[in-house]
């Protein structure tokens, strides 16, 4: 596939690894914020190509993993209402809520349907005018502009029996929260490529400015990630910190302005709870006044639900904050597996524990 195969070239990858080793002894942690990067790093054996001292930490960038159990539980309650058809992305089905998960809710008679895009949810709403169709929306800046566009179009053309349960989140406030917590020892960020396609480079500038930590916006193919690691290592070695774009074929300095406009038209930032991290100011998205009629929470009677403590022994919170790896978890691979997940990081296809379990990297 064009723009994929060229960036998987073996000679280029080996050459990049050699350049990284040339930088010499560098004992630092780099964090890949995005779960899509985590999976690609494992899939392509990137960790094995790096010198001993360079460690990669996985961050909070799996939207499935950071959706709080109380929100999952609200979706389960919605699915339990007779008049409701709950639609969502497939990844959400097995994430543990408080009492169960959406898959169990469906098995118990709830009408839960997996969709690929919000358009499909709209189609279901048109086909079922006597039901209330809710889209349980999760995802970062990559996903939310599409949701915003769909709502702008739904505003004009209906249907009237459609609403959104917005659990969308924003990445830079979470990076800020991690830095403010100050727990993880991070010498560079591999910034999420497709989130940055939308938001551009500027929202990360506070990281080098305030915390003197280099940032490189990276693509998802192996040579993209290796090149980003090389760029970060060079910055770290030189003692400089700035935001650089490795993924220049898909990320403009200013981002996608049109997408930013529609996001701003439909949503406004709101305080949001991240599973394992806690409440982060201005890190979620809620519907603006004009679009409130699409708000599922205003439309259905769902009680507030108290947040649940994670299962005893589960360290997903530490993993999401970059201060532990799945290998530190007593449950990992024993009682917690993708088939029978206890913690959220084991469930999502891009959860850190799920990726470690599937691809089994070297213990760092």
């Amino acid at each position: 596939m064009k723009f994929v195969d060229e960036f998987r070239n073996r000679d280029n990858a080996l050459s990049l690894a050699k350049e990284i080793r040339k930088i010499g002894d560098l004992r630092v942690n780099l964090m890949e914020v995005c779960g899509t990067h985590t999976v690609s790093i494992f899939k392509h054996g990137i960790r094995e190509m790096l010198p001993e001292g360079l460690r990669l930490l996985s961050g909070p960038g799996c939207p499935v993993c950071v959706t709080p159990a109380s929100d999952i539980e609200k979706a389960i309650r919605m699915a339990g209402l007779n008049e409701v058809i709950l639609t969502t992305f497939g990844d959400m089905m097995r994430v543990p809520g408080i009492t169960s998960n959406l898959e169990t809710a469906r098995a118990g008679g709830g009408d839960v349907r997996v969709v690929y895009s919000l358009f499909e949810a709209l189609k279901i709403a048109r086909e079922n005018p006597d039901r209330k169709v809710v889209f349980f929306g999760v995802g970062f800046e990559t996903t939310s502009p599409g949701i915003a566009v769909t709502l702008i179009e739904a505003e004009k053309e209906g249907p009237g029996n459609f609403s959104l349960f917005s659990c969308h989140k924003l990445v830079p406030p979470a990076m800020k929260a991690l830095l403010e917590l100050g727990e993880a020892d991070i010498a560079g960020f591999i910034c999420p490529g497709h989130v940055s396609t939308i938001i551009g480079a500027k929202p990360y500038e506070f990281i080098p400015d305030k915390y003197h930590i280099p940032c490189v916006i990276a693509g998802f193919e192996p040579t993209d990630i290796l090149q980003a690691i090389l760029m970060l290592s060079r910055q770290a070695k030189q003692g400089v910190a700035r935001v650089e774009i490795q993924y220049s074929r898909a990320v403009r300095e200013q981002g996608n302005i049109k997408a930013q406009e529609v996001l701003d038209e439909v949503f406004e930032p709101v305080c949001s709870t991240w599973r394992g991290i806690g409440v982060i100011p201005d890190s979620g998205l809620k519907l603006r006044g004009r679009f409130k009629r699409f708000d599922a929470l205003a439309w259905l009677e769902i009680p507030e639900i108290e947040e649940k403590e994670e299962e005893k022994g589960c360290i997903c919170g530490h993993i999401l904050r970059g201060i532990a790896t799945p290998y530190d978890c007593p449950l990992f691979g024993k009682t917690c597996t993708p088939q029978d997940a206890i913690g959220p990081c084991m469930v999502g296809a891009e959860g850190t524990c799920g990726a470690y379990y599937k691809y089994g990297g070297r213990r760092q």
Partner: protein
């Protein structure tokens, strides 16, 4: 969840385009990429084209890598 796949735009009809992904052709919204033309490559995410791929920038990245390989070999 933030996967994006390169797709080639084959036909545009208003705000919807037919795009080729690998061997398949699917419909995609081009609402977020005003100015896109047939023949362009876009990045496809959950039914939406989220950016036009900059072919020149891609070439420049690859050139840089090729030069690196050559320098190491010489």
């Amino acid at each position: 969840m933030c996967l994006g796949i390169p797709a080639k735009v084959s036909k545009i009809n208003g705000l919807i385009a037919r795009v080729q992904v690998g061997g398949a052709e699917v419909a995609a919204s081009i609402y977020l990429v005003p100015g896109v033309r047939a023949g362009d490559y876009v990045l496809l995410h959950a039914g939406f084209a989220i950016e036009i791929i900059d072919e020149q920038a891609a070439e420049e990245t690859l050139d840089l890598l090729r030069k690196m390989v050559e320098e190491q070999e010489s």
